[in-house]
C-alpha cells in the first residue's frame, strides 16, 4: 500500500477492484465500513461477484472476469471527458500523459459497458465519484494481478491515481492488499530470482559486489527462475534438487497435475513445514519447523509496517525455527556465518537494505512497529509513499490496451472459471484445516453457480458436479447463488480434496510471471 490502513477512515472515496476485502482482509474491510458510516465516504466496487461490500457501495460494477483494464480505461476516459483530472499534478509530477489520453480516448463508457457487461451510466457514476473526491484511494488484490494482463492492470490503476493526483497524499493512493502475512516482507527480503533485499537487482554489478563484500562470497549475476519456471525446468530435468520452505505448491499452484509431474521428476526434494502438507508427500526429507508462536522475528504487513513476532512457547517436539534450520544447513555446507538470535539477522538486513536501514529490534519494541522506507536510525518511518516525490522521480503513465484473457469460454468449455479465497480458510488450509471451528464452518470445497445456469443443468444446491478444464477435472458440491453473473463459476482454492488448481490456467503474465488464476474455461456437469 502506498498509504496506511488508518488513513482509510478519512478518505473521501474508496474504489475497490478485485478485492473481497471483508473476507480476505477483514479488519481493513471493517475500517472501510467505519469510513462509510462515520465519514460519509463514498464507495465504488468492481468485482465479478457481488461481494459483501457491493451492498454498501454507491456504485457496484459486476464486471466480467478479465475486463479490469477496459473498465479502468473507461473510467479514465470519463474523467478526462468531464475534466476531472488533476491538471496541476499531471503537469508537475508526471510524464507521458499524452499517450494515456490517446489510448483511453477509445474507451468510451458505451464501449466499455459492452466489454465488461455493465451499464455505461454506472461507469460514469463511478468515474465521477472517484474523480470528484478530494482524497480517493484505490484498493485491489489478486483480482487485478492474477491475470495474464496483471502488470497492465496494476499500471492502469497507477495511471488512474496519477491522473487524479491521488498519489503522495494522505488517505488516497494505490493500495494493493497483500494476501499472506508476510508476502510483503518475503519480497522485500528478496525471495525473488532477480533481486537482492530491497529490490536491488542481482544483475547489477555494483549491487552484486556490495553483497559479495558483505557476505564474503562470490555471487551469481544470472537472474534465477520463478516458481513456474522452476517447475517447467524440473519437468525437463534441468532442476534436480529443490528445497521448499513453508510452501504447498501441490495445492496453491496452477495446474496441479503439472506441479506433481514436475516435483516427481526431481532427484531430491526437501520440504520444511509445520504440518505434513500435500507437497510433503512428494518429499525425500521433511524437516519440522516451528510455528510463528515459537520463534522471534518480524513480519512486514501490507502497509509496509515491520512488526515483531514474539516467541510465546518452546518449539513443539523437535521442531526448530526456520531461520535456525537454514542457518545450520548453510553452516554444514561450509558457509560458516552464525546467528544467535533473529535480531542479529535484522541488523544484517538493515546494513544491506536501504528501506530497512533504520530498523532494529530495540526500535521495534514500540507498539506501532516501523513503516518502511525507514533508512536511518532516527527516521520515523513512512506513513504514505511519494509524499515528497514519486519513487522514480516523475510518475510515468504506462497506458495499456484491454486484452482478452488467455483462455476464453468456447463450445467445449463454455463457462468462465475463477478462483479466490474465503473468510474461514487460509491458503492451502494447512493451518485453518486444523482449527475445528473453521472446519465446521466451511467443511469442504464448493463451486458457486448462478441460478440460471443451475436451472439449465438441473443442478440443485448441494448436488455434486464435475468441473473439467483442458488441464484436469474435479468433483465438488454446488452452491447456487445470486451473487455471480450467469456463466461464471467461482471456487475457493483452499481445499486439497477438490483443488481448484487442477483446473486453473498456468498461462503467465509476461512481466510479473503471475498465473491467470482468475480466468479459465471449464465445462460443468451434474453427477447423478
Amino acid at each position: 500500500m502506498t498509504n496506511t490502513i488508518e488513513e482509510i477512515l478519512h478518505t473521501d472515496a474508496i474504489f475497490i477492484i478485485g478485492s473481497n476485502t471483508t473476507e480476505n482482509h477483514p479488519v481493513i474491510g471493517a475500517t472501510m465500513k467505519q469510513a462509510l458510516r462515520n465519514n460519509g465516504t463514498k464507495l465504488v466496487v468492481a468485482d465479478p461477484r457481488r461481494i459483501e461490500l457491493a451492498d454498501y457501495a454507491d456504485v457496484y460494477l459486476q464486471i466480467k472476469p478479465g475486463t479490469n483494464i477496459a473498465l479502468l480505461n473507461g473510467i479514465m476516459n470519463v474523467i478526462i471527458e468531464k475534466g476531472l483530472q488533476d491538471r496541476e499534478f499531471i503537469e508537475k509530477n508526471t510524464e507521458n500523459y499524452e499517450e494515456l489520453e490517446e489510448i483511453v480516448k477509445d474507451y468510451t463508457p458505451e464501449k466499455v459497458a459492452e466489454i465488461c457487461d455493465v451499464k455505461a451510466e454506472d461507469i460514469i457514476k463511478a468515474a465521477t465519484i472517484y474523480g470528484e473526491a478530494d482524497k480517493a484511494g484505490i484498493f485491489y488484490a489478486m483480482g487485478i494481478t492474477q491475470h495474464t494482463t496483471g502488470t497492465d492492470g496494476v499500471m492502469s490503476i497507477s495511471n488512474l491515481a496519477l491522473l487524479t493526483g491521488n498519489l503522495g497524499k494522505e488517505s488516497a493512493g494505490v493500495n494493493p492488499l497483500r494476501g499472506q502475512n508476510n508476502v510483503q516482507g518475503s519480497s522485500d527480503m528478496a525471495a525473488l530470482p532477480s533481486d537482492y533485499p530491497g529490490y536491488q537487482k542481482v544483475f547489477k554489478e555494483e549491487v552484486a559486489e556490495k553483497f559479495e563484500k558483505a557476505w564474503e562470497v562470490n555471487l551469481s549475476r544470472k537472474v534465477g527462475l520463478t516458481v513456474a519456471e522452476m517447475l517447467d525446468a524440473a519437468e525437463k530435468g534441468d532442476i534436480r534438487t529443490m528445497y521448499i520452505m513453508g510452501e504447498n505448491p501441490m495445492v496453491s499452484d496452477p495446474d496441479i497435475n503439472h506441479v506433481k509431474k514436475a516435483l516427481e521428476s526431481l532427484d531430491f526434494l526437501v520440504v520444511q513445514d509445520i504440518f505434513f502438507s500435500e507437497t510433503c508427500e512428494l518429499a525425500d526429507v521433511i524437516l519440522p519447523a516451528a510455528s510463528f508462536a515459537e520463534k522471534d522475528g518480524t513480519f512486514t504487513n501490507t502497509e509496509r509496517r515491520v512488526q515483531r513476532v514474539r516467541k510465546a512457547i518452546e518449539p513443539v517436539g523437535k521442531s526448530k525455527p526456520d531461520w535456525q534450520i537454514i542457518m545450520e544447513v548453510m553452516n554444514l555446507l561450509g558457509y560458516d556465518k552464525k546467528y544467535s538470535h533473529p535480531s542479529e539477522i535484522m541488523d544484517e538486513i538493515a546494513s544491506l537494505t536501504p528501506q530497512y536501514g533504520g530498523i532494529d529490534y530495540v526500535r521495534l519494541e514500540d507498539k506501532d512497529g516501523l513503516q518502511w522506507p525507514c533508512p536511518t536510525k532516527d527516521h520515523p518511518g513512512t506513513k504514505y509513499l511519494h509524499g515528497t516525490a514519486i519513487a522514480r522521480g516523475k510518475g510515468l503513465f504506462v497506458p495499456a490496451k484491454y486484452k482478452e484473457s488467455a483462455e476464453l469460454p468456447d463450445r467445449e468449455y463454455p463457462y468462465i472459471f475463477t478462483t479466490g479465497r474465503i473468510l474461514y480458510h487460509y491458503h492451502t488450509r494447512t493451518m485453518t484445516g486444523r482449527v475445528e471451528g473453521l472446519n465446521k464452518q466451511v467443511p469442504e470445497a464448493y463451486v458457486e453457480i448462478d441460478e440460471v445456469t443451475a436451472n439449465k443443468l438441473d443442478i440443485k444446491d448441494g448436488d455434486k458436479v464435475r468441473l473439467t478444464s483442458r488441464r484436469g477435472s474435479i468433483e465438488v458440491g454446488a452452491k447456487i447463488t445470486d451473487i455471480i453473473s450467469e456463466g461464471v463459476l467461482f471456487m475457493p482454492f483452499h481445499f486439497a480434496e477438490a483443488a481448484a488448481n487442477y483446473l486453473t490456467n498456468p498461462a503467465l503474465d509476461p512481466i510479473a510471471k503471475i498465473p491467470e488464476f482468475k480466468v479459465a474455461a471449464v465445462k460443468l456437469e451434474k453427477i447423478d
Binding site: 508476502v183 534436480r240 534438487t241
Partner: protein, 348 residues
Amino acid sequence: MVKLTINGIDYEVERDKTVLQVCNDIGIDIPTLCHDERLEPYAACRMCLVEIEGAKNLQTSCSTKVREGMVVHTHNDKVMDARRDVLDLLLSNHPIDCLTCEKSGQCKLQDYAYEYGVREGTYVGEMRNKPIDDSNHFYTYDPDKCILCGLCVRVCDELQNTNAIGFEDRGFGTIVATPFDQGLGNSACVSCGNCVSVCPVGALMPKYDTKFRLWETKKVRTTCSYCGVGCQMDLLVKGDKVVGVEPAFDTFNNGLLCVKGKFGYKFINHGDRLKTPLIKKDGEFVEASWDEAYKLIISKIEDTKAKYGADALAGLSSARCTNEENYMFQKFMRAAIGTNNVDHCARL
C-alpha cells in the same frame, strides 16, 4: 485549557475532554462497565457516576465534558453508595457462579464487586432465565450473565459494522439477541469475536480447549500469522500451550481481529504438527534425527551441485515465514549454494 477541582485538588486540563478521560489521565481510577474509548459514550452502566457540585443528580463521567470551575467528587459517600447499589442491582440479576465461571479472574463485575465490597445481590426477585446460545462454532453466549453494557452490540455496529446482534425487547426484559432468536450461528455473524473481546463478564466466552485462569497465563504480544493486514494481538500462554488470543487495543487494528486471528490459533498445539525430521525410505516416511536428515540433505545438495552445477538447484521461500527467515533462505540459496533460483508464492 480549563481549570477544575477534582477531589479537592485543582487541575488545569484540556478542553473537550470528558471527566472520565481527565481522571484517567491524572490517575484517578473510575470504574466503568459500558465504556470503550473507541465507541460513542453510552452512559448505561452508571458505574462511572461522579458528583458534580451544582448538579441535581450524579453525572456519568464518561459523558460529561469538563467545564471551567467544575468541582468534581469521584469517590465521596454519595458516589460510592450509588456504585455499590448499581453493583448490587447487577449482581441480583446475575448468577453468582464465579467458582466455575470461565471468566473468573478477568471479569470486571467480579473485580468491582471485590473492590466495592459487594458480596452478592441482595435484591431477591426475578432473574433472567434464557437458554445459552451455543450455535456459533467459536464462542458461546449466555444471556443470563449479560449485564447489558451493550459493548458487544456497539462494537458489532460501530466498529465491525456487521450488525449481527442487537437488543431485543425493552426494560427488564431487554436482552442482546440475534433476530428472531435465530442464534449466532445462523445469523449475519462473521465470528470475528470482536464482541467477545470486549465482553466485561462471562456472557460471551470463547470455546476454549484448555481450562485456565487468567493469572496462570502470560500474554505475549505478536503479529497475526494469517493475512497481510498484520493485526497485533496477544497470545495467552499457559505452560507450553497457546490457549487463547486477545486483540491489541493500542495499535492500528484498534482492538479488532477476524475469525482467523481470534480463534484460528488452535493449529499451533495441534497433534498433527511435525515433531521430528522424516526421511522417505522405500516409499515410507520414517523418523530420523536432525543429524541424519542434515547429512542426507548436504550430500544431495553437494551431489547435484557437483554433477549439474548450482543452477540445477532451486528453492522456494515462504510468505508465511519471517523477514529474517526469508533473508536467510535467499542468502542460503545465493551464498551457500550459488544460485539465484529462489522464489516464493507472492503471486498466488
